[in-house]
């Protein structure tokens, strides 16, 4: 087939789509695990602190670890059972303190977060979202209540609901939009009561038209909510890019969407907010795609947070070929992991397995200045120049070239025909720039 990939400056790369294995598969309940693992660092910000002790009985929906400070999030048990241990366990970020709970399979529920759904003020609703431990479920895991707390003087007028699932294999949000459209729309309506929002968009990539139909039906004649079908291009779902594409605003360097009066929330996050406000439910489960060529029967699972990945691999029927890489996340931004004991956490939208032959390292050759890394950079950096500056030891130049503005999307390394580790070098440059800043302050 003729591959129309014209060469020009664009807002991303046309990365390969591998969604076909799971996009038509309905969400199924994942099997329950006997052992549940809750790492304290499953969100960005300060890790939570355990408030249970070994031997304690816990109920489903009971708070087991408390947020520390503003940028942090509560963690709840997603099963009922007994605390078996509190120790270091493998997590997507390497070994980290985790609470391990032995499941009694009774699902004895803890009391809801709130006993009443009536007469909730905005403050009550925000507090429910905060207490429910909701974080950005698209993968960033940034605590949602922080995103919903604009500093004084920053009025929020725009809400963007992110359904642009641009990672290679991911179909979790796609399925959720089809199967839980009502809940998502209900969540959006809740958010609309919190701020004087003038424009609300649901951003969706044009390759998932069936979810558009489902959402349209759920929205009905509510004219406040508009669906925007966007080009299928990676990283369409990157927050900064979405804001620029939809409302033509640019988040200032080092700033947050709040700085341009905008809130961006993933569809799963919005659904979780709905469940917290309407049912008093803390964040206990999510939809996760488990997929990749080596997996026998890939699935979209509704899975309890804390379930070890191994349980899901087994539920998919195991492997049909050797895998070279297991990724927490997708191939563009995912973190490589090696242990099947790493659990599903709040931000796990996909676990991808790459075939062995796809993880070989190609030999690096000289840069031919093809300019493709510039063409695909969603924030208009010159990746090769940052990489060169880093390799020449000129960290000042790397900083002037905007290394700190890199959003880690991986497009530059993906596209480079010379196999130059552009993103690796930019990350190293960032680390050095940060280290120097800390030293001098």
């Amino acid at each position: 087939m003729l591959n129309m990939k014209l060469k020009y400056k664009r807002q991303g790369a046309y990365t390969e789509e591998r969604k076909s294995r799971t996009e038509k598969k309905s969400i199924i309940e994942a099997p329950l695990s006997e052992k549940m693992i809750y790492p304290m660092n499953m969100h960005i910000g300060k890790p939570a602190e355990p408030i249970v002790e070994v031997g304690d009985d816990v109920k489903m929906g009971q708070l087991i670890a408390e947020k520390q400070g503003f940028v942090s999030a509560n963690i709840y048990s997603s099963v009922s059972g007994t605390v078996e241990s509190i120790e270091e366990k493998p997590s997507m970020h390497g070994p980290h303190l985790a609470i391990v709970i032995k499941n009694d399979f009774k699902d004895t529920p803890a009391p809801a977060l709130t006993s009443t759904q009536e007469d909730l003020t905005s403050q009550d609703k925000l507090s429910l979202i905060e207490r429910a431990g909701i974080v950005g479920m698209g993968g960033a895991t940034f605590p949602t209540h922080v995103k919903l707390s604009p500093p004084k003087g920053k009025a929020i007028d725009t809400l963007i609901i992110n359904g642009a699932e641009c990672e290679t294999y991911s179909t979790a949000d796609h399925r959720l939009m089809i199967e839980s459209a009502e809940e998502i729309v209900a969540g959006i309506k809740e958010l609309l009561t919190l701020f004087p929002i003038k424009q609300t968009y649901i951003a969706i990539e044009s390759n998932v038209h069936d979810s558009v139909c489902a959402l349209k039906q759920a929205i009905g004649d509510d004219e406040r909510i508009q669906i925007k079908e966007l080009e299928t291009i990676y990283p369409q779902g990157a927050e900064k890019r979405l804001i620029k594409t939809l409302v033509n605003r640019e988040v200032p360097s080092g700033g947050l969407p709040l700085d341009v009066h905008t809130i961006v929330a993933n569809v799963s996050t919005v659904r979780a907010a709905h469940l917290a406000i309407q049912k008093g439910l803390p964040l206990m489960d999510r939809v996760t795609t488990v997929t990749g060529e080596p997996i026998k029967d890939p699935q979209n699972f509704r899975v309890r947070i804390g379930t070890p990945i191994q349980v899901l691999i087994d539920a998919c029927g195991g492997f049909v070929e050797k895998t070279g890489k297991m990724l927490h996340g997708g191939p563009m931004m995912g973190k490589p992991i090696t242990s099947g004991q790493v659990p599903i956490t709040k931000g796990t939208s996909v676990i991808s397995f790459l075939p062995k032959e796809e993880v070989k390292v190609d030999e690096r050759t000289p840069c031919i200045k093809c300019a493709e890394c510039l063409n695909v950079c969603p924030v208009n950096l010159q990746p090769i120049l940052i990489s060169n500056a880093y390799e020449q030891g000129d960290i000042d130049e790397a900083e002037r070239l905007g290394a700190m503005d890199c959003i880690d999307c991986g497009n530059c390394s993906y596209i480079c025909p010379a196999n130059i580790p552009l993103l690796d070098n930019i990350r190293q440059a960032k680390t050095e720039i940060k280290a120097r800043k800390e030293k001098s302050s």
Partner: protein, 327 residues
């Protein structure tokens, strides 16, 4: 059943997938595209055209191999870039050019322009353009004997000589526009005569995502606009400028060269328009038919400066970043 424990899992950082388009794939696309003008050359000028290109390719690849061997560098002839240079040189001379001129051109392009500054990706100037200009300057008697195809092989003046030197009209002796376009009864460098084949090659390279189409379009567009204004909006005059000489061939195959061109998106626009302006100035003011070669070489030399001042504005910043001259 296979389990995770039986597998060695790699831990390298993201991204974990890579595009399959490698340097050699890109270069091969250009080689494929160059076969189109080569076929036209064989059709119009005979089988000697093929031998000329073979000599160009063989000598370019050998010089590259020899240089890298002598300098104990990794051998990179597999990236096909030397093949392109050799094809371009073979296609850049008239059918009467002795084979040794092609070999000298290859030596100059590969050794002097490409390998001495560090090889692929490190050369400031386009190797094939450098070789053309060098041959034109020093070996003019052997390579500017324009021969129109045909049994009687009469030497002809190039159309450019009749429209240069401040002339604003097209002389009688200039071939018709259709002949210029198709390459019929036209003297000149063997690869450049059939504009039709070059346009097909252009479409191929654009569709394959190998060249940025704005570079040839802005380049030729600039020549068209300026010549049109200068010629009192005469379409004949304008089209003669556009279709004559190396312009379209160089715009598609040489101005689009990555390494010697500009890196930044705006820089590429400036590069193309600048080359167009210089080409038309050299043609009209200096009455020098080789304008295209000099124009591209001058823009090659300017491109690092162009890129420095036209660094793209980063998302979330108000101004372009202040950067050093790329090394």
């Amino acid at each position: 059943m296979m389990s995770l424990q039986d597998m060695t899992l790699k831990m390298s950082a993201s991204p974990h997938l890579k595009s399959r388009r490698k340097t050699d794939w890109i270069m091969k696309q250009v080689v494929i595209a160059l076969f189109l003008p080569l076929l036209a050359a064989i059709y119009f000028f005979g089988i000697r055209s093929l031998f000329m290109v073979i000599v160009g390719v063989a000598s370019s690849v050998l010089f590259e191999y020899g240089f890298q061997k002598l300098r104990d560098q990794p051998i990179r002839i597999n990236d096909y870039s030397a093949v392109i240079t050799g094809m371009l040189i073979g296609l850049s001379v008239p059918v009467t050019a002795p084979y040794w001129t092609i070999i000298i051109g290859s030596f100059f392009a590969i050794v002097i322009i490409k390998q001495l500054p560090g090889g692929i990706g490190r050369n400031m100037f386009n190797p094939a353009v450098g070789a053309r200009v060098m041959l034109k300057v020093f070996f003019s008697p052997w390579i500017t004997n324009w021969v129109a195809p045909g049994a009687d092989a009469v030497s002809t003046a190039t159309p450019l000589e009749s429209i240069g030197h401040f002339s604003k009209t097209v002389g009688e002796e200039v071939p018709g526009l259709w002949d210029l376009f198709l390459g019929v009864n036209l003297g000149g460098n063997i690869g450049e005569t059939s504009k039709l084949m070059i346009l097909l090659a252009f479409v191929y390279l654009v569709v394959r995502g190998v060249i940025n189409m704005k570079i040839p379009l802005y380049y030729v567009g600039t020549v068209a606009v300026i010549s049109s204004i200068y010629g009192g909006y005469s379409v004949d005059y304008m089209m003669t400028h556009v279709l004559s000489g190396t312009l379209i061939f160089a715009a598609v195959f040489m101005a689009t060269d990555y390494t010697s061109g500009a890196l930044t998106p705006t820089g590429q626009t400036v590069f193309a328009i600048g080359a167009g302006l210089l080409t038309i100035v050299i043609r009209i003011v200096f009455n020098f038919p080789g304008g295209v070669g000099f124009a591209i070489l001058i823009m090659n030399a300017l491109s690092p400066v162009i890129d420095k001042y036209l660094a793209p504005r980063i998302y979330g910043h108000k101004k372009r970043p202040k950067v050093s001259l790329a090394k």
